[in-house]
Symmetry: C2
DNA sequence: TGCTATAGTTACTGACCGGTAACACCCATG
DNA sequence: CATGGGTGTTACCGGTCAGTAACTATAGCA
């Protein structure tokens, strides 16, 4: 199967029709490897995917991998950085339609979480999964994960403060719990009719209660 | 990780009559191995712990391991079963002081989750971690995890129904999200002052609001 | 044409890991 | 004392995996 992919790519490149195949032939080897790795890491776990598998799935081989990345660990760290960037970009995008309306922004975030396409998150939170799989406490990837989660917590607390909650840290942290639980539930209950569906409702209830002065 | 010729029961019964001599001295090694394995699996992950490490940490060796367990996979499944049993026992214990008071029971569960000793859960939810680490969809351990999570969901929904919530499934699932998020947060923010602290409060707010008729 | 950067191929090392074989030892029971 | 079950010990097999070496092929550019 990998041989077919390689030969096809070569044929396309030789043919020169570059724009017709944006996903494989035109991109640099490094980018192909990286995209493939991100996909496989999320779907099969860090430890469940070897360098050989990544390379051949990307239509190349291990040597080209090591010409682009100094080690698998470094690739993992890059994967986590990219996941963090993507999550924040998603956040900003979801929030953008409601400027100066922090309550609506928070609600939109949880609704968007519920409605995320299944294949994008049926393995739960990529960052949390990395923390489960990596044991070395000082691994570069874990530093990124901790920073990322701390920033999400901070953002939720800020949203709570901006919407005038009487105890913004408590509301923000409560929302943090719901968000984390939602991602976890997407992994554990992958099919329809799961606890995931109530995430938006739970967030609304928490916000409503806190704005009423609960806690 | 794939040999499955023998079964757990066979391995246990190899010692002889299963009922005549209830395994005090005979299965001491087995118990030591199992306890050690549970500890290491939780702290370092399934894939992060080898059979050699388990055996030597238990003061024995690999051969004795394979005299007690047919395979590492089977041990993992047993580990998950034990974790599920322990969790349910903990649940029943926490709930026991408040018979016929489902609301108080639910609140007690979340308070107890917050107050669990750190070293018992600073790696988050053992069941969820197993689901992250194991890729084989039909692995025996994963079946146990799914059943366990489904039962917790059912229990929370039942509690919500018993306390008279207008929409018990929504309340139960909301609590499920908070509970999952709490365990995840214990792994991600291991030190003091974390979102974990608000889990009891979040649960109370959700219950209160639902009993008032929200959603 | 020839140089250089990029990429493919094959083969290898060393470590680790799950699992097994064969044998030696200890000790309780008969 | 003899037997046998549980245990310890050593060595090994087959597989996987991260990482490297050395060579080849190609494509663009001067």
């Amino acid at each position: 199967m990998k041989v077919e992919a390689k030969t096809m790519e070569n044929a396309v490149e030789v043919g020169g029709a570059a724009d017709a195949n944006p996903c494989v032939s035109k991109s640099r080897v490094r980018d192909r490897i990286f995209d493939t790795a991100c996909d496989l890491f999320y779907k099969q776990g860090i430890r469940g995917v070897g360098v050989d598998a990544i390379a051949s799935e990307a239509g190349t081989n291990k040597m080209s991998f090591y010409r682009s990345f100094p080690s698998k660990d470094e690739l993992v760290a890059e994967y986590v950085r990219d996941a963090a960037r993507q999550f924040m970009a998603w956040w900003d995008e979801v929030v953008a339609p409601y400027p100066n309306d922090p309550r609506r922004q928070a609600e939109a975030l949880f609704e968007a979480t519920v409605n995320k396409p299944i294949e994008q998150c049926n393995r739960g939170c990529a960052m949390a999964n990395v923390m489960v799989e990596i044991q070395e406490e000082d691994h570069a990837a874990l530093v990124v994960v901790r920073e990322h989660k701390a920033e999400i917590r901070q953002r939720l607390r800020q949203l709570a403060a901006d919407m005038g909650a009487s105890n913004p840290d408590k509301l923000g942290d409560s929302l943090m719990l719901v968000m984390g639980g939602t991602f976890q539930a997407r992994m554990i209950f992958p099919a329809g009719n799961t606890p995931v569906d109530v995430a938006g409702c739970a967030a609304k209830v928490l916000i409503e209660a806190h704005l009423r002065g609960a806690c």
